[in-house]
Amino acid sequence: MSAMSQATPTLKATPTLSRVRYSLAPWARIAALAVCALLTLGPVIWTVATSLRTPAQSFDLPPQIIPTHPTTAAYHGVFQQIDVWLLALNSTLVTALIAVGQMITAGLAGYAFARLEFRFKKPLFGLVLATMMVPLQVTIVPVFLVLKTMGLTDTLLGLIIPAFPTAFGTFLMRQYFLGMPKDLGEAAMLDGAGTWRIFRSVYAPLATPGLAIVGVLAFNYHWNEFFRPLILETSSQNYTLPLGLVSLQGNLGTGSISVVLAGVVLSMLPAVAVFAVGQRPLREGITSAGVNR
């Protein structure tokens, strides 16, 4: 397998990195990268800039990145038109509980697939991975019916509970646990520890970075989720932020563009905050998934 298996993925600023020498001059390469970065961030910058203007100034071309008369009127408008606090509370509850739930299920299942022996291990893992291929839209109606029998339609729990199992999270945690040295567990076993104790005392604490990755990924995905809340929530008190933002577009499109964009910026903020804090584990999680094992 890979000559460079990692116990714990760490940010590499070490000599093992191969920094290549290119034929293209460094400054040209960096300039090209800079252009790409600008193109990538451009729409976001435009969104923020336009949210600070009145609609009357929003369609001027060339677009002014720095608004000449910045105003937060659009943000006031958002708070007037939708109950931002309630939507944010809903989104936070749903996302936080899903993140915690996924950390638990992925941690347990990933450990089992990595370290425990049992029949049907291979097919079960294959089944778990196969569920990544199932489109949400295929299962949403039956899931809706299942939730209906549980009495959970149009509740936040109905969004949270079906999201507890995570195929990608399980895969990640399995990778993580596979990368840990076996001798730790064996030493504990020789001391007479049972499976649960080995997990709880030896491996679980080591897995915290991996769990953080699962948590941050879960947060990122579910904070911005649109389709499931669209179908499963009908009372406006149960809407999450992406759903609520849609209504800023107004009846028959009479909503103001600045207000719509202000709403987008507001909903972006928590995700960006988590991104800033969780950037490292998130990056490491994704890069380590690409590492051959």
Binding site: N90, T153, T234, S247, T254
Partner: protein, 469 residues
């Protein structure tokens, strides 16, 4: 390595326990929110009314609830403002509620859904209207019969119209001034319209398109079909309805009124329809109008208020939106839709529909009457985001701040052109709309695409209309 982890491990362990405890505590504390138990009136036997959330802001909804409670303290009411981008999105959500077994008692339904609801889900209001005729006389005297007729189906009345919007023409006066063009007359013709667009184009410069329109069932192509004396589907009237007309309307207004509209055979390939499409295609080719972008036109307020667009069809719902976008009352104005073979306008209306599944139909009727009262409607329609169905509510004071100067156009459209009718909305409206939008886009996407697109539209429409809903 193991040793250096020990203190950290202990810390992590306690940290994990702490986080776990916090999560449990948080879950327990927010249990009501998680299960939706904190939503007032849920599962407690209230009368549930589902409205289009973006139409009424939270303050209005509260005023509505309080007012009803004062009048009927024995009927608990819950208004569920369902947020949706447009009517089809709204219906999808209502249907989801019905599927979940939490159907509301009353649903605010627009013309797009009147017949679908009437046929599958609704209860006709005839017996209550007849019973409370004395109470409703004043209401019907204040509401134009065209609006009422649009809410009838096969001889029965299913809703009392609360609001409507006819497709009139909005003009940006600054753009007119820039091009040196005159404000058009009330009976301006289609050729006058084209000439105006050309004038505006000359004075406009780059990044300016004279005519903006959105591809949807209301507005879009349909007003031009109406103006050309045709329609997407063959239109006729159901018999019956005289019980209503004879009771509430004078003889002059009763002429030609029936039991509701019927839309049957598709006629997308008739000459007049093709003519209308050819006209718009020619506008597109001359760069006088925008290409048909789907959606609900949320670009529109921005581009109109900034003078990037000069003319667009819209109804009374726009006055408030333009004011919010920063446009002053004097900067724009409204005129009737231009005349072609006819000057028949199209409108969409909305009102409360009573669901067959409701167990509180008497109470629901009381709400419908309450909502139709003038004081209630005045409170509901404070901002000019729509046109109230009651004629007496349109006055200079209402439109003083937002404009337009010719606000009378909104309601006079119904009086001046008595053949003004609703958008074609049979029970198969979802599919009809999809087909219309799809092929309008194709028809105008390239030159000479109109004929083939209309033929395919006809085929799909026939298929759609054959389907049992």
């Amino acid at each position: 390595m193991t040793d250096s982890h020990l203190p950290r491990r202990t810390l992590l362990r306690y940290g994990a326990y702490g986080a776990g405890a916090a999560a449990l505590a948080g879950t327990a504390a927010s249990w009501d929110r998680l299960t939706g138990a904190d939503i007032p009136g849920r599962d407690d036997g209230s009368l549930v009314v589902a409205t289009l959330g973006s139409a009424f802001d939270p303050a209005t909804v509260e005023a509505l609830t309080k007012g009803f409670h004062r009048l009927h303290p024995d009927i608990p009411l819950r208004v569920n403002a369902v947020q949706a981008v447009d009517w089809s999105d709204f219906f999808a959500k209502i249907l989801t509620q019905i599927a979940a077994g939490t159907a509301p008692d009353l649903v605010y339904v627009a013309t797009e859904g009147v017949q679908l609801f009437a046929q599958r889900l609704g209860v006709s209001l005839d017996r209550w209207v007849r019973r409370d005729a004395a109470e409703l006389r004043e209401y019907f005297a204040d509401v134009h019969p065209s609006l009422v007729e649009s809410m009838m189906y096969e001889g029965n009345l299913y809703q009392l119209p609360m609001e409507f919007n006819a497709a009139d023409m909005y003009l940006n006066k600054q753009v007119l001034k820039r091009a040196g063009a005159d404000f058009p007359a009330a009976d301006w013709s289609r050729d006058d319209f084209t000439a105006l667009l050309r004038e505006l184009k000359r004075g406009g410069g780059s990044h300016f398109t004279p005519y903006f329109w959105t591809n949807r069932l209301w507005g879009g192509v349909v007003p031009w079909l109406f103006a050309n004396g045709t329609n997407l589907l063959k239109e006729s009237k159901a018999p019956g309805g005289s019980w209503l007309w004879d009771t509430f309307y004078p003889a002059a207004d009763r002429q030609g009124r029936g039991g509701g509209f019927r839309w049957t055979t598709p006629q997308a390939t008739t000459d007049r329809v093709e003519e209308a499409y050819d006209y718009i295609a020619s506008l597109v080719q001359e760069d006088l109008c925008t290409r048909p972008e789907g959606g609900n036109g949320n670009n529109l307020v921005g581009v109109f208020s900034t003078g990037h667009v000069g003319v667009t069809p819209a109804g009374g719902f726009w006055a408030g939106g333009l004011q919010q976008a920063g446009m002053r009352a004097a900067d724009y104005d409204v005129q009737y839709f231009p005349r072609w073979r006819t000057q028949r306008h199209q409108f969409g209306a909305a009102g409360y529909a009573l669901l067959r599944t409701s167990k509180k139909q008497e109470a629901a009727w009381e709400f419908i009457k309450y909502a139709a009262r003038k004081d209630t409607m005045t409170r509901l329609f404070r901002t000019n985001q729509t046109t109230p169905a009651r004629r007496s509510m349109l006055n200079a004071a209402r439109y003083a701040a937002s404009g337009p100067a010719h606000w009378q156009v909104f309601y006079d459209t119904l009086d001046r052109f008595p053949d003004t009718g609703p958008i074609p909305a049979p029970p198969q409206v979802a599919e009809v709309t999809d087909v219309l939008l799809k092929y309008t886009g194709t028809a105008l996407a390239s030159p000479r695409a109109v004929g083939p697109a209309l033929r395919r539209m006809q085929g799909d429409l026939e298929q759609a209309m054959e389907r049992e809903v």
